[in-house]
């Protein structure tokens, strides 16, 4: 099956995160709204709103926007 990709405009990052019940803490890191725990990438890195490129199901895989993360995602 072809992967379904829903694209979104940069200005709507917060709205997309809220679909997944995620928010941003005082230091601009993405957090679970219920627990305020910071979300992590598969490499265990916290994700700032400015670095957030997208989310993939697996269950929720956060993708950062740096070249290393994007190449890894392109190969996945």
């Amino acid at each position: 099956m072809n992967k379904k990709i829903i694209t979104y405009d940069e200005s709507l990052k917060n709205e997309i995160l809220s679909i997944f019940n995620k928010g941003v803490d005082g230091e601009n890191f993405i957090v679970e709204k219920d627990t305020n725990l910071r979300v992590l990438t598969p490499e265990g890195e916290e994700v700032k709103l400015g670095e957030f490129a997208g989310i993939s199901k697996g269950s929720e895989v956060f993708i950062k926007s740096d070249i290393r993360s994007l190449i890894k995602h392109a190969k996945s």
């Binding site: 099956m1 072809n2 992967k3 379904k4 990709i5 829903i6 694209t7 979104y8 405009d9 940069e10 200005s11 709507l12 990052k13 709205e15 997309i16 809220s18 679909i19 997944f20 957030f52 490129a53 997208g54 989310i55 993939s56 199901k57 697996g58 269950s59 993708i63 926007s65 740096d66 070249i67 290393r68 994007l70 190449i71 995602h73 392109a74 190969k75 996945s76």
Partner: protein, 286 residues
């Protein structure tokens, strides 16, 4: 799947007042979440795509729409769905397409296993940068990204990639050395790391380097570039100011050092690319 999408779309129709939507088919409908504040939903029939404009929805519509987007996400299995910011989705697609280019594939295949995984990962990023650079597109952001991610080694390898060292000198060096009886992959890896850390046979000019900094880098590398199996020291510059800076240094070097051979190549439509090839005729004091 088709029926499922129709059912999902009916739910969306109940939330947002949707006028007639014409698409090519019900299969593989692309969905974008946009910011056009006029239409709540737009159809791009040729692309078989709909754009849902979140900012145009009222609060209730927005909350309900988000809920059914979560349903949409939950419907799929692992790796079958993702939400991606448009510009990064474009980049991912571009990385995938350029990764299939024969010229890039050949280089990566060559170095696979010859350099460590850590350096191979950087090489992949740099070869992507090179393919964008070859298209004549701006690469400043990408170069900065590589520098931020992989620090000085990333910057050095990016410079070596755009000036063709990975398909040129470094590859040739491996091929020559591998014919020697005492060759080992470990020895090549040691040499490779030293080369990408210090770029001993190349100097790259950039806006940030002053003329005196650049001159001292060139003279310092002239003292030791032979050690790495290179016959020449190359100085690269891109852009008018770098070209002028390098030409100034070259004229001073010619005056200061005896028995030096310097070949200057000015390339590009406006002669805004410079490659200087320097060799020492015999052992010299720089």
């Amino acid at each position: 799947m088709v029926n499922w999408f129709k059912e999902w779309f009916k739910k969306l129709e109940k939330i947002i007042e949707i006028k007639e939507i014409k698409l090519l088919s019900d299969i593989n409908v692309g969905i974008s979440i946009g910011k056009n504040d006029k239409e709540k939903i737009q159809a791009l029939p040729k692309e078989n795509k709909i754009i849902i404009n979140f900012p145009a929805l009222d609060k209730k519509e927005l909350e309900e729409t988000k809920k059914i987007f979560k349903e949409y996400y939950d419907h799929f299995e692992k790796n079958e769905i993702e939400f991606m910011e448009t510009k990064f989705n474009e980049r991912v697609k571009d990385i995938q397409e350029k990764g299939k280019l024969e010229s890039i594939e050949n280089i990566l295949d060559f170095y696979k296993g010859k350099i460590s995984d850590e350096y191979f990962e950087i090489l992949e990023a740099c070869m992507y940068l090179k393919s964008v650079y070859n298209e004549g597109k701006p690469v400043d952001d990408l170069k900065e990204d590589i520098g931020n991610t992989y620090k000085q080694i990333g910057r050095n390898m990016a410079n070596l990639a755009t000036t063709r060292y990975f398909e040129g000198f470094i590859k040739d060096y491996y091929e020559e050395k591998s014919k020697e009886g005492n060759f080992t992959i470990e020895k090549f890896r040691e040499w490779f790391i030293e080369v990408v850390k210090t770029t001993p046979f190349t100097v790259f000019s950039c806006q940030e380097k002053s003329e005196s900094q650049l001159k001292s880098e060139i003279t310092s590398k002239l003292e030791r570039f032979n050690k790495y199996g290179a016959e020449f020291l190359y100085v690269h510059g891109l852009g008018k100011s770098n070209v002028l800076k390098i030409l100034n240094i070259v004229s001073k070097l010619e005056e200061a050092i005896k028995d030096i051979d310097i070949i200057v190549d000015l390339l590009g439509k406006d002669m805004n690319i410079i490659i200087v090839k320097i060799s020492l005729k015999k052992k010299n004091t720089v």
